[in-house]
Amino acid sequence: MTKAAALLLAGGLALTACASDEEPAADGGDTGGGAAADAPKIGLAFDTGGEGDRSFNDSAVAGVEAAIEANGGTVAKLSPNDDGSNRADLLTQLADQGYDPIIAVGFAYSDVIGDIAEQYPDVTFAQVDGAVEDAGSPENLTGLLFAEEEGSFLAGVAAATKTEADHVGFVGGVETPLIQKFQAGFEAGVEAVNPDIQVDSQYISPAGDFSGFNDPARGKIVAQGMYDAGADIVYHAAGGSGIGVFQAAAESGGRAIGVDSDQYQTVDDPALQAVIMTSMLKRVDNAVEQFIGNYVEGDVAGGENQRFDLESEGVGLSTSGGFIDDIQDDLDTYREQIISGDIEVPTTP
């Protein structure tokens, strides 16, 4: 009897293992196997969701592929398991197999990447969305950070210019400092256009409870509350819960602003495409490509953060659907002002 139980468990674990690519699948780049001797062997460790999430991880893949196209080299990709508990193992595995540089995607790696970087002092590490200070500032780690607040500021400008009810909303997934940057930028952008516009900001779950990034039902209820209260445009920074925000927008006749990737392109549903006014893009692909380029040229200093902002095209607004084409001049004006430093965007609400 216990044998049957053990079998069942083993089966479950085996399937889970299948699902998360334990063995790194080394893909030759577009340049094929004949890469130069100094071509980088890039290790890529994903955030939960893995390749094919049509957002963050896929964006990192696009960046790596572009870099391989330019510099040659190969890539190995690893995904963490469902609860992300094997993140440290992924990095160790890549380092042991001689991958260099190793790029970790997502702020959740901050807890583990510091120790591993110290264990492998000769390997160059980079972490998307993670500051080196959070990982104990090892010398061989570069943080690839984004000025989310600047992109969100433009999203706020777009919302404030387009609102007819003088009432907009912001739905955050989890109340972390990272998501608060989105809120702060958005609120500042709205205020810059018209201080009388009301902004409702709410989070789906508090800090520590990460369910808020993956609960479309709760996302829909929070956004529905804002549309019911009179808001007509809601900006979300809630990851997988965002589709609930779009559903609420479609049902209430409102509009929504997406986040991270061009969600107009990835939502697969014409009814929802119609409500996605624009998306605040985080160009993880640009950041990753640029980092690998620097690595190949030997320009990676390490131990410091690289910040990707409006100026370096690290963040911006998508234009798919053509909903914000008519206000592009306004947006460009604000963009110039942020780049020149005339407008300072806050990072905390």
């Binding site: 009897m1 216990t2 049957a4 139980a5 069942l8 468990l9 089966g11 479950g12 674990l13 085996a14 399937l15 889970t16 293992a17 299948c18 699902a19 998360s20 969701g49 893995g50 390749e51 094919g52 999430d53 049509r54 896929d58 469902d82 109340e175 709410q202 989070y203 789906i204 779950s205 508090p206 800090a207 520590g208 409870d209 369910s211 993956n214 609960d215 479309p216 039902a217 709760r218 829909k220 209820i221 929070v222 529905q224 509350g225 019911d228 997988g240 589709i243 609930g244 559903q247 990835t266 939502v267 697969d268 549903d269 929802l272």
Partner: protein
């Protein structure tokens, strides 16, 4: 509900008022308690000015949150009444979300319901094979199914959605090709919207009733109607049919049932498969909200359903109340943070009533404790404008805990629940 004959004679030590509320038949007591609670909520709504307490939009959101929990709990009811503990509800729900996404994107919403229930039922079948045929410990098998389901859906998504021209990816399915229709009660909740008019007048009690009714009857989908109907249907099946009696006998005393000719193994199989398909239906409901399958979208609702089942004393009405309470508290904290503070006033009134009641029973310590806490919560209501968001989000869990501890109900699980039954060994 067992309708014991009401005792006319007033028991010693009870005043006429206590007798009015606590005497009489069980059904009358419950009705009075519910009406009393509703009047109280309505009064709190008027005093605090928090219209969202009984607004139709809050109630609609509560329904949206309560239905998947209630369906999982109903699934648990069938399994546990037949004596099989089902920790795997969450995994079966996850399988249901995947099945709904897979069938829904190809053949529309009707197929999504069938697919989701079928996938959930497959999870149930696996649990039945493990626990009934092979006698695996119920908890071990349930936990294994939760792990297995998470791995299986990821594996299937990778296989079928990675390069799918219809869209989707490792973590999500393509969008459903059709959405289930939504219906509203004509005249009352749509068109002339009489209930809506009444709700907007903000009258004491009347507007609250209108708000609740409107919330429950406007824009509901087929799965919601099905879920609500399943509560009385489950009661009728389990307590009013021979099949139900046999099923429950397997959960109370399988050896006795066996000796009377009940096919215990088969009954358990049927019960656990029904359990899985109901949990799967809960998953379908979640897929309908999002319009796609998304990995991890159950967010542990299967486990909360299990808690609602225990809260409801393994009875359909009780588990519906548990799911409803959890859904309401969750909806309230998601829609209005300030309305949560109004719950303090509600709590203060309830605690004050408990204090008075305990005082009349000469239990001074309990009375003083309740009075002190009533004072604290009342002060909280008067001084706090808005709670810290970290606290607010735990409202549903705290409310459920409080009700459980205040209700001091005598929970009784099926007697042979969780025990492995081997024919001839008992």
């Amino acid at each position: 509900m067992s309708t014991t004959a009401s005792t006319r004679a007033t028991p010693a030590g009870r005043g006429p008022l206590t007798e009015f509320f606590l005497g009489g038949s069980r059904a009358r007591r419950i009705t009075l308690l519910l009406v009393g609670a509703f009047v109280l909520v309505s009064a709190v709504r008027v005093i605090s000015g928090e219209e969202s307490l009984t607004a139709s939009s809050t109630i609609a959101a509560a329904l949206l949150l309560a239905v998947p929990i209630g369906l999982a709990a109903l699934g648990g009811l069938f399994a546990e009444r037949a004596g099989v503990v089902n920790i795997g509800l969450d995994g079966m729900m996850t399988l249901g979300t995947w099945g709904a996404g897979f069938c829904g994107y190809q053949w529309g919403w009707q197929a999504a319901i069938v697919g989701g229930m079928l996938f959930g039922a497959l999870g149930g079948l696996l649990h039945a094979v493990a626990t009934v045929t092979f006698g695996v410990d119920h908890v071990v098998s349930g936990v294994a199914i939760n792990i297995l389901a998470a791995g299986l859906v990821r594996f299937l998504s990778e296989l079928l959605y990675s390069d799918n021209p219809a869209g989707g990816g490792v973590t999500q399915s393509p969008a459903l090709t059709s959405r289930p229709p939504e219906v509203s009660l004509p005249v009352l909740s749509s068109g002339p919207d009489l209930l809506g008019d009444l709700e907007r007048l903000n009258w004491f009690l009347l507007s609250d009733v209108a708000g609740v009714l409107r919330g429950l009857t406007s824009g509901v989908g087929p799965t919601t109607i099905l879920a609500v109907l399943l509560i009385p249907i489950s009661y009728l099946i389990l307590w009013r049919t021979a099949f139900g009696l046999r099923l429950r006998a397997c959960g109370e005393n399988p050896a006795a049932a066996d000796s009377l000719g009940v096919a215990v193994y088969r009954m358990k199989y049927i019960a656990v498969i029904i359990s899985g398909s109901l949990a799967g239906l809960g998953g379908v409901f979640l897929v309908f909200i999002a319009g796609i399958y998304r990995e991890g979208q159950t967010n542990g609702r299967g486990f909360i359903g299990l808690a609602a089942l225990i809260f409801g004393n393994w009875r359909p009405g009780g588990l519906a109340a548990g799911a409803g309470l959890f859904g309401f508290a969750d909806a309230l904290q998601l829609r209005s943070r300030s309305a949560v503070v109004a719950l303090f006033l509600l709590l203060a009134v309830v605690l004050a009533a408990v204090a008075v009641w305990q005082a009349t029973r000469r239990k001074l310590l309990q009375a003083v404790t309740a009075a002190v806490f009533a004072g604290i919560t009342l002060t909280g209501f008067l001084t706090i404008d808005e709670l810290a968001p970290g606290l607010v989000s735990f409202t549903p869990h705290l409310t459920t805990l409080l009700v459980l501890s205040l209700a001091s109900q005598r929970l009784r699980m099926p007697k042979a629940d969780g025990l492995v039954y081997r024919r001839g060994e008992h």
